[in-house]
């Protein structure tokens, strides 16, 4: 008993010849179907090249177009011929010209010999698997597809729409339950001949001629009628990408293919000479009888599909530029934004760096330049601190910075004065942790040495800007983790919020903060606010501060700059 190979060929005829000879060398007869689209000249040359080999035959040619009936017709003709002309054949293996046997043919023969009644054909019902191309799964079997998907996509789509509109549904022939699966199968003589000699075959054929991609469903469905034992898997290693076209193997896949222990792989790049040499000329001698194990290859190709469909979150580049809302992660990692903290605390940045173990920048969006940590002019990825470059595309600047420093959490300061900051982007980014002490911008004003009229103007400006920012951060579209305190609220118990912010960063092992940042001396701040009010400017973002009369006539002794607890 042996295995018969039906080989469907349309290009790379020289490789097909090579593989056919390989099969016959182990005593397997081969029936080759050459696509009718191949020119008569090339066909006859091909036939001639294999003339010397008695085990190779050629069958009636059909025109094979992807997704159309021709491929099934080709497989039928080939199978009929091989069953008729080679009575020793027990299993028929459907393969293509770009398939390559990875293990010695004898191993395949032995493997099938040990499983004489088993049909290896991937076959699953449509409702159970997500294999859909062009949004069609169930409908493959209930609509008509007279137009080519490859050549006439427009008509194909319109005709599908039309049928949906009029609720057209074809009747599935009695007794058939549509199944789909890889078109590369290996069936026993019993099953295959039952399919081919079925008295109802004309009906089935007529039905499947108008099914879409019948080569993935014809044998898969009919095998269910006759097979006594179906192993629903293909012996051919064949991976498909998200558009349903097969992945191609190249020279650099050699080791991967070796370790897969699969019998046959498709599709091989015709010019991958190293693979053909390795597997055809010197197949590994040792007979292993191992079960095929394509897990590793699966992983690689699954990753490729994921990269093509989902991409790397937070990456904007020449071939990935997602539309709004399709970023699948606007930035590539979590980061923290602090507003008002460095105004309220004297040494907030070094303190935060120490307490959280993260990279802490100053005001990245300050008007004069991007204040990178440590006063650097350029940071990771050669990102420049030039304010013009940053403001030219602030979102790209921020996304690049987070991308360039992936693996290390970034913190930076924000303030009402940083008008270049892409505040909507920050607010909509779930990776952003934004903590705001509103009104803290008044502290530097309070401590500055300026004329009061200027201070008043500046305070009014900053308050407007900050209130605009807060509006964004409080909008229902905001997805960032936002915390907002008024300054009055915050200074009542500053350690608690600080602790929870640091805990949420989850960077260092959870532990209590041992050191507190030093708060600016706020004596007289209440009076300062009152003065602003008296001048007609109403500061409200910082909450309510009592007016402490540390006036000129009763000087308190200066308090120590007060430490938080």
């Amino acid at each position: 008993m042996t295995v018969g190979i039906v080989m469907l060929v349309h290009t790379a005829l020289d490789r097909a010849e090579q593989v056919a000879r390989h099969w016959t060398m182990a005593g397997c007869p081969v029936v080759i179907h050459v696509d009718a689209a191949v020119s008569a000249k090339r066909y006859s040359k091909f036939v001639k090249s294999l003339k010397d080999n008695a085990l190779v035959e050629f069958c009636t040619r059909h025109k094979c177009e992807w997704g159309a009936w021709g491929l099934v017709a080709a497989a039928q003709s080939g199978s009929e011929q091989i069953l008729a002309n080679f009575p020793a054949v027990r299993h028929v293996y459907l393969s293509s010209g770009s398939c390559l046997p990875l293990r010695p043919v004898q191993e395949l023969i032995d493997y099938l010999e040990a499983r004489p009644r088993t049909d290896f054909i991937e076959s699953a019902t449509t409702s159970e698997v997500p294999w859909t191309v062009g949004g069609l799964s169930e409908e493959r079997f209930t609509l008509r597809f007279p137009f080519s998907w490859k050549r006439n996509r427009y008509l194909f789509d319109r005709y599908v729409e039309l049928q949906r509109l009029v609720r057209f549904k074809r009747k599935i022939p009695k007794g058939l339950v549509p199944h789909m699966g890889s078109q590369w199968w290996c069936l026993t003589r019993q099953t295959l001949s039952a399919i081919l000699e079925d008295p109802d075959r004309p009906d089935f054929d007529a039905y499947f001629k108008k099914v879409w991609i019948p080569d993935e469903s014809y044998f898969q469905t009919l095998a269910r009628l006759y097979s006594t034992k179906i192993e629903s898997r293909s012996l051919t290693l064949s991976k498909f990408d998200f558009q349903g076209k097969p992945h191609i193997f190249y020279n650099d896949h050699l080791q991967l293919l070796r370790r897969s222990d699969c019998f046959v792989a498709r599709k091989i790049w015709p010019r991958a000479g190293k693979l053909y040499n390795a597997f055809l000329k010197s197949p590994e001698g040792a007979i292993k009888m191992a079960e095929p194990n394509p897990a590793k290859i699966d992983r690689i190709f699954a990753k490729a599909v994921e990269r093509r469909t989902r991409g790397r979150p937070g990456l904007f580049m020449q071939s990935r530029f997602p539309n709004d809302g399709w970023e699948n992660g606007m930035t590539c990692g979590r980061y923290s934004v602090f507003q008002g903290f460095s105004d309220l605390f004297e040494d907030f940045e070094p303190w935060l760096a120490k307490a959280s173990g993260t990279q802490v920048h100053g005001h990245l969006f300050a008007p004069h330049r991007a204040e990178f940590s440590g006063g650097q002019r350029v940071i990771n990825g050669a990102l420049s601190d030039s304010p013009e470059i940053r403001d030219y595309n602030p979102i790209a600047f921020l996304a690049s910075m987070i991308w360039n420093t992936r693996g290390e959490r970034q913190c930076f300061q924000l303030g009402p004065n940083d008008e270049a900051a892409p505040i909507w982007f920050l607010a909509k980014d779930p990776n952003a942790q934004i903590s705001v002490i509103s009104g803290a911008w008044a502290v530097p004003l309070f401590k500055s040495n300026q004329n009061f009229a200027d201070l008043r103007r500046e305070a009014a400006r900053l308050q407007n800007l900050e209130s605009e920012q807060l509006k964004v951060l409080r909008s229902p579209y905001c997805k960032a983790r936002v915390r907002i305190w008024t300054m009055a609220e915050f200074i009542e118990a500053p350690m608690e919020p600080l602790q929870s912010i640091i805990d949420e960063m989850g960077h260092l092992a959870l532990r209590r903060l041992s050191e507190a940042p030093r708060m600016n001396d706020l004596t007289g701040f209440g009076q300062f606010l009152q003065n602003l009010k008296n001048q007609g400017m109403h500061p409200y973002l910082m909450g309510d501060f009592a007016v402490d009369h540390a006036g000129v006539n009763n000087p308190d002794k200066p308090r120590k700059p007060y430490l938080v607890q």
């Binding site: 990408d241 998200f242 558009q243 076209k245 992945h247 191609i248 190249y250 020279n251 650099d252 790049w269 010019r271 690689i300 190709f301 990753k303 490729a304 599909v305 990269r307 093509r308 469909t309 989902r310 991409g311 790397r312 990456l315 904007f316 580049m317 020449q318 071939s319 990935r320 530029f321 997602p322 539309n323 399709w326 970023e327 699948n328 350029v378 940071i379 990771n380 990825g381 050669a382 990102l383 420049s384 030039s386 013009e388 470059i389 030219y392 595309n393 790209a396 600047f397 690049s400 991308w403 360039n404």
Partner: protein, 336 residues
């Protein structure tokens, strides 16, 4: 895109093609071996001027990748480039004395040559200082890529320009003919690029890199464009619009995914910044034959006389394509 825009772009494309046909008279074939081109050959098109020292490595680099025929326009070189090219068995070379600027920086000339010889071929259009890197380029020839693109029904392939520069002054290490320029200019900027969509042509407009960082820190909008689509399965109805930054019909510019995924893309290593650069910059300033009144060269000349170092602490040293892919500058897409 409305009917009207689409119609106007079509008119524009036709106009570029007619212009290219007209400009063919400015070319004189010096050594025309185009009859050797076979139907599935990979072709490379280039315009150059005084690049003799770069040519040996350039030609070999692309021969090894699998380019079958080079079609080159020599814009009046006087350093022996023309003679050198005429000797090569796989090069067809044309000579032109006419204005580089008036041929829209060589685009018209190459549009003509592509119209005439590139139809139905995969065509790579690069300058002599640009070196294509694509996924798996260390193990798979260019043909593997183009076959895969064909099988995936993809007609154009993006390769962003990545400016390479040496550590130290540009003129510190002289470049010898035949040498790999990346031995000298082995550094690049990994993550300071900005991009936006060009609504009219549908391409991405990418800027940034060392040229933006050092030469245009105060006017980044003037920094040169880095987006390129150098590899196209050509059809005689196609036309490059501006260098290889944009091509019409505009569907070819859709080399990026907008729904979160990554399409396959490569990189053009741009080895412009060698010791030859300052001479070139000085000459181009005289000739004023470059884009936007040579504003780029003007900025270079100014900055270079002050502080000719492009290298910084965060520059990245080039290793291989996998490094560029990890950095997010290019992508394997779903090619595995």
């Amino acid at each position: 895109m409305g009917f009207w825009t689409s119609y106007r772009l079509r008119i524009q494309r036709r106009r570029w093609l007619v212009r290219a046909l007209r400009k063919r008279r400015e070319l004189r074939a010096v050594s025309d071996r185009s009859n050797k081109i076979k139907s599935d050959d990979l072709l490379l098109f280039s315009t150059l001027r005084n690049e003799h020292v770069r040519l040996p490595y350039f030609l070999n680099y692309y021969r090894e990748q699998g380019i079958n025929h080079f079609l080159i326009v020599d814009n009046d070189s006087n350093d022996g480039s023309l003679e050198y090219l005429a000797e090569q068995p796989d090069v067809s070379v044309w000579h032109s004395k006419h204005s580089y600027k008036k041929s829209r920086f060589g685009v018209d000339w190459l549009n003509w040559l592509q119209f005439r010889y590139g139809h139905d071929h995969w065509c790579l259009v690069v300058d002599p200082d640009e070196f294509l890197i694509y996924p798996f380029c260390d193990t798979r020839p260019l043909r593997a890529l183009t076959d895969w693109l064909d099988a995936s029904s993809i007609k154009s392939f993006s390769a962003m320009l990545l400016d390479m520069y040496p550590k130290g002054r540009l003129d510190e290490q002289p470049y010898r003919a035949g040498q790999n320029p990346m031995e000298i200019a082995s550094w690049f900027d990994a993550g300071n690029y900005t991009m936006e969509k060009n609504a009219k042509f549908g391409n991405l407009w990418i800027q940034g890199g060392p040229r933006s960082r050092v030469f245009f820190p105060h006017e980044p909008e003037k920094a040169p464009a880095l987006n390129k689509i150098p590899l196209v399965k050509w059809n005689r109805r196609y036309a490059y619009v501006s260098s290889t930054h944009m091509v019409l019909p505009r569907g070819l510019n859709q080399v990026y995914d907008e729904w979160g995924g990554e399409k396959a893309s490569g990189i053009l290593l741009h080895a412009k910044f060698l010791d030859t650069f300052s001479i070139k910059a000085a000459e181009e300033l005289q000739r004023k034959q470059h884009y936007a009144a040579s504003i780029e060269y003007l900025a270079y000349a100014q900055s270079l006389s002050e502080n000719p170092e492009l290298w910084c602490k965060w520059s990245e040293k080039y290793i291989n394509w996998r490094q560029l892919e990890i950095l997010g500058l290019m992508s394997k897409g779903n090619w595995a």
